[in-house]
């Protein structure tokens, strides 16, 4: 019974090191995807809040599509669509055959795109939650628009956004497991490989579940700390 656990050990013959390394890839993939999502989400939120119809329409369509369509479909779109475009591009320069996209970069861009759709909602809600008086006060101080956003609005917006962003981060972390379908050896894929070659799927998927659970718990603490930090000096 217990000799099975040796399979998860860190020494030779153990998969522990490989799993931890894969967990690091999962963390990297999720963190980079989330960070890219800040850019997409910020732009989409600005679009949603815009008074012009065109950016508003584009931003809402982005949100509706990428929050409503299964993430797996989006992943296939980016991976196959991107690879086909890359192959066509390669042909121009005389490359032959099919060129696949690098899995990590594709994963980061895809997760960034999906999480951006969710983050946009968080930023939009947070912006609307900032008291209107703050805008008036900033104007009364003769701050420029950029100064107003940077010094007054953004810090307060962040405070309202952190709980929602924490939820999006948890979503991203779990979504990152889907990137395994395009062959990136992150935690999910590595445990599939381990399960296949040792014929111990139960053990390996339990290990994967435990690692995801640990990452989710530990990173959740960071968001909790950030929330406390951003609410300093706020009387409820």
């Amino acid at each position: 019974m217990f000799d099975k656990f040796n399979l998860l050990g860190l020494g030779t013959g153990g998969w522990g090191a490989a799993l931890l390394e894969a967990a690091a890839i999962t963390l990297l993939l999720s963190a980079a995807g989330f960070a890219l999502g800040i850019v997409f989400g910020g732009m989409a939120a600005a679009g949603r809040l815009s008074t012009m119809r065109f950016p508003r329409g584009i931003a809402s369509a982005y949100g509706i599509v990428f929050r409503g369509v299964p993430d797996l479909l989006t992943i296939y779109l980016f991976y196959y669509g991107g690879s086909v475009a890359l192959t066509a591009f390669g042909r121009l320069f005389g490359a032959k055959g099919f060129t696949g996209l690098p899995a990590l970069a594709t994963g980061i861009v895809t997760i960034g795109f999906i999480s951006g759709a969710y983050q946009a909602e968080v930023y939009r809600g947070a912006y609307l939650a900032v008291e209107r008086g703050q805008f008036d006060a900033a104007k009364a101080l003769a701050l420029t628009r950029i100064q107003m956003l940077r010094l007054v609005i953004l810090p307060q917006l962040l405070r309202h956004a952190i709980p929602g962003l924490g939820n999006v981060w948890q979503l991203v972390l779990k979504d990152s497991a889907l990137i395994s379908v395009i062959g990136l050896v992150e935690l999910m894929r590595q445990s599939q490989i381990g399960a296949g070659s040792t014929r111990e799927p139960f053990l390996f998927y339990c290990a994967a579940a435990a690692l995801y659970f640990a990452i989710a718990g530990l990173t959740g603490l960071i968001f909790g700390r950030a929330e406390v930090n951003a609410s300093r000096g706020v009387i409820h």
Partner: protein
């Protein structure tokens, strides 16, 4: 770049996966709701022996990816074939269909129980006190007062959860079930026309989500009919 002819051509093929998507989503949402309600109610009592195992179950299913849960049930439990055979459950765990339903059900039950637990807690205390002042038993108060209010309050959050489940059924394609996403993946790998397939399959999911949101908002309006319109 986008070929409209091809787009319309593949829609019937993709729609042939819709019954399976609906079956997976429908049965897991219904079974998951029943389980979620039981879990939420069981946590109203204060017995640690009941509450802690439920909390642990909920934390695990909310804290790990759905894909891991599906693999754990389908591939992981397959390892215990002799045991499952001896208790007569092997015919269930052998089928990707039942494994997917089980995984989706447990997953949505974990999320759903948290939604319902919050909704039950948010029913004003005065109402349950009023119910007991009327001499209603705890069961009767629950059935006539607490649950109707809690369920209505939970509806918006629960409709989000249902949408997530519809999206979640796409993962069943990874364990060989050919629902809409499974068919989409086959089409893409045969034709390499990712854009058209994404648009057609995406439209099916968006239409489905739209219908669900619309139906549930009708239900919500119906359940709120006693409210005075502002």
């Amino acid at each position: 770049m986008i070929d409209p002819g091809f787009l319309f051509e593949i829609i019937p093929t993709l729609l042939s996966g819709l019954p399976l998507t609906l079956e997976l989503a429908g049965s897991s949402v219904l079974l998951g709701f029943v389980l979620a309600l039981l879990l939420a109610l069981a946590q109203q009592g204060k017995w640690p022996v009941v509450v802690w195992p439920i909390r642990t179950f909920v934390a695990i299913f909310r804290g790990t990816p759905l894909l891991v849960q599906i693999f754990l049930i389908y591939y992981g439990l397959g390892q215990f074939r002799p045991t499952l055979q001896s208790v007569g459950l092997w015919s269930l765990f052998r089928e990707p269909y039942w494994c997917a339903i089980l995984a989706l059900t447990l997953n949505t039950a974990a999320y759903g129980s948290e939604i319902l637990r919050g909704a039950i807690r948010n029913v004003p205390r005065g109402l349950s006190e009023a119910a007991s002042a009327l001499g209603l038993s705890r069961m009767l108060a629950l059935r006539l007062v607490i649950l109707p209010l809690a369920l209505r309050q939970a509806l918006p959050a629960y409709s989000n959860e249902i949408i997530l489940m519809v999206k979640g059924t796409s993962l069943a394609s990874i364990i060989t079930l050919t629902e809409v996403t499974g068919i989409a993946q086959e089409l893409i790998s045969q034709t390499y026309r990712a854009m058209e397939v994404f648009i057609a399959a995406g439209a099916i999911y968006l239409a489905l989500n739209f219908l669900i949101v619309w139906a549930l908002s009708l239900l919500e309006a119906r359940l709120s009919h006693y409210r005075v319109r502002a």
